[in-house]
């Protein structure tokens, strides 16, 4: 299949590479939460810009797909715009900002507020895939710890947080246990989004390009945020509601509006917020 951008294959990667990636993804789906090493390719964007997620998307995308790309929950952040136009150009694929219309949603740092459905794929861009990395810098060691389910140090760390701060002092990239087996990093999503991963009907794929790892959470898989019986997992809450749509149930970004420190709070998910604003306008008109 030839691409729309002259000189490159469909969706940029050559077919051999895509086949390799698909095999890796299948393995990842078969072992939920396990980090599968893969032969990362240089992409025309820098590492840290989402090369892992882009490679995953490039290997699964087809002409019938509809792609949505978000960064910080929004479709119009510069990097989301850049990645969306990359696939529009190299794969000639339809794009959307509407979560419910997308077959593939590539994301950095958020899970959309609208619930995902069966058949949808959520592709996460992952900077550091290893949940034990800050506790043990050596890959040779952490692989062993995963193999043996030796997760004591993680629980000790969480306990130390409680002992020092009275709570678990992690607000994003909050570790989870997948299918009662592997401890997994959900990528730097706020812990607010963690509950959405659990028993999600969509397939969740995670790509870390620089670190050369792909992992997955298949549909309807148990994903548990680590906690203790007497310190149960909690998500962030705001006293404010969204200044634009009035939502009280979404993740709010804080916008500084003046040099006197005035602030407003708005939904980080621009699609969710836009829909609610449209509904409000419609209501007001009726």
């Amino acid at each position: 299949m030839s691409g729309t951008e002259t000189g490159y294959n469909y969706a940029y990667l050559d077919e051999q590479t895509k086949r390799m990636l698909r095999r890796v993804i299948l393995k990842a789906v078969a072992i939920p939460g396990y980090q599968v090493p893969f032969g990362n390719r240089e992409m025309p964007m820098p590492h840290g810009w989402g090369t892992g997620g882009i490679q995953v998307t490039a290997s699964i995308i087809g002409p019938d797909d509809v792609l949505k790309v978000i960064d910080q929950g929004a479709d119009d952040t510069t990097n989301a715009v850049s990645i969306r136009s990359f696939f529009a150009k190299t794969a000639g694929v339809a794009t959307t900002t509407r979560t419910e219309e997308a077959t593939i949603v590539q994301t950095r740092h958020r899970i959309p507020e609208k619930p995902l459905k069966e058949g949808q794929i959520l592709v996460y861009q992952v900077p550091i895939p290893e949940p034990l990395r800050w506790l043990e810098p050596r890959e040779t060691e952490t692989r062993k710890m995963h193999a043996l389910s030796e997760y004591g140090i993680m629980h000790v760390r969480l306990y130390e947080d409680i002992a020092t701060h009275g709570r678990i002092a992690t607000s994003y990239d909050y570790p989870v246990q997948v299918n009662e087996r592997y401890i997994m990093r959900p990528s730097p999503i706020p812990k607010f989004d963690n509950p959405k991963m659990d028993m999600n009907p969509a397939l969740q794929l995670f790509g870390a390009g620089r670190e050369k790892r792909i992992y997955a959470v298949p549909p309807y898989t148990k994903v548990k945020s680590l906690d203790f019986d007497d310190h149960p997992f909690e998500v962030q809450r705001w006293d404010e509601s969204c200044a634009l749509c009035g939502a009280t149930d979404s993740f709010l970004d804080e916008i500084v509006t003046s040099d006197r420190g005035d602030r407003m709070f708005v939904c980080s998910d621009s699609d969710y917020c836009g829909d609610r604003q449209a509904a409000r306008r419609k209501e007001a008109a009726e």
């Binding site: 090493p37 820098p46 994003y172």
Partner: protein, 366 residues
């Protein structure tokens, strides 16, 4: 009103336009041509080819022009192009013993068969700015006396000379039928074989390897190096097509090779002898080749029964962090928005401060 991230598409297009203007600079000044870069900035070209892992001086020159002389960015451009290229064949190992040598020095022997050849080196220049270069000058006619062609002499490698006495560890070829690791196709795994290590170092950032190599000389993983031989020149690249009984040359490339010879007191299984570190780059890249050889030797510590104690001897540390694409990308990704993570931290820090303030108040009240 809330406008901070809207209009991303227009902003990107405008930024690209500005970038193109900055790249061109003052339009009164003639535009650089690729042959000018290739010929007159040839060491930049060879560095980009080496770390870009693609031997193509013209494309490297284009990358340097496009990157406005930012070599790490140019290396990135070349790598991103390279990864899309099909592979026709795997070449046979190049034979640097049959190199058409233009420079060859040994720091271990005063004279060596084939002689020492200084070649085009900065080594004995005085680093005084040459103000004559400030203005273009007509090219002088070649000096008849100096351009006398040298009789081709065989130049056996210095390592081979030492090897005859068994003083230098032999370089045993591995199992040649075993598949070689290809870092551009497979992820690094540990312990990495020497071929994977040398591939990573060859593509690794010159500055990083230079500093690591330097650290071994200052005692962080000291390995008593001598520059056994540094040679630079052209070698033929050959492939062995399945349908032919003999290899065919497909072209020549310029390479720099460094054989570092290191003292070694011996271990339980090996007698005292000299050991080796190896460095190879495309083009003329002595600083990189020597640094690479020092780091290669440092990373052989386990194999030689030495206790690893320093950063240069730490395989995961060196190989995971030597790639400029990975390092530059991840450091610079901090420029990308992190509003959501930062907001999460804000919420948490505020709550923790409130809790701490409440606790202090309660204490004061008691």
């Amino acid at each position: 009103m809330y406008v901070s991230v809207k209009g991303g598409e227009r902003a990107i297009a405008a930024a690209h336009k500005l970038l193109a203007e900055e790249r061109r600079g003052d339009p009164e000044v003639p535009e650089l041509t690729l042959p000018q870069i290739e010929q007159q900035l040839s060491l930049a070209v060879t560095r980009v080819m080496s770390e870009g892992a693609l031997y193509d001086p013209e494309l490297a020159a284009l990358a340097i022009k496009q990157a406005r002389g930012d070599l790490v960015e140019a290396i990135f451009l070349l790598r991103a192009y390279r990864t899309t290229l099909p592979r026709f064949a795997t070449s046979l190992p190049i034979d640097t013993g049959r190199m058409d040598v233009r420079r060859r020095v040994s720091a271990t022997f005063k004279d060596i068969p084939g002689g020492q050849v200084l070649g085009p080196t900065f080594d004995y220049t005085h680093r005084l700015l040459d103000f004559d270069l400030a203005e273009p000058k007509p090219v002088a006619a070649p000096d008849a006396e100096e351009s006398e062609p040298q009789a081709a002499q065989p130049m056996p490698s210095v390592a081979a000379i030492l090897g005859q006495e068994g003083l230098l560890e032999p370089e045993e070829p591995g199992d040649e039928s075993a598949p070689l690791t290809d870092l551009t196709r497979e992820p690094l795994s540990f312990p990495a074989g020497r071929e994977a290590r040398l591939q990573a170092l060859a593509r690794g950032d010159e500055g990083f390897l230079l500093s690591l190599g330097y650290s071994t000389q200052r005692g962080y993983g000291r390995n008593h190096p001598f520059a056994g031989e540094i040679r630079m020149g052209d070698v033929t690249v050959e492939i062995q097509p399945e349908e032919l009984p003999f290899p065919i040359g497909i072209g020549e490339i310029e390479v720099t090779e460094c054989q570092m010879v290191n003292s070694f007191k011996g271990s339980k299984t090996k007698p005292p002898q000299f050991t080796r570190g190896y460095g190879l780059t495309f083009g003329h890249g002595e600083r990189k080749a020597m640094s690479m050889a020092l780091v290669d030797r440092a990373l052989r510590c386990r194999e030689l029964g030495e206790e690893p104690s320093s950063p240069a001897q730490d395989e995961e540390f060196v190989l995971y962090h030597c790639d400029s694409l990975e390092a530059s990308g991840f450091v610079q990704h901090l420029k990308l928005p992190h509003y959501v993570d930062f907001q999460s931290e804000l919420v948490m820090v505020r709550e923790m401060r409130e809790r701490a303030a409440a606790a202090r108040k309660a204490e004061a009240a008691e």
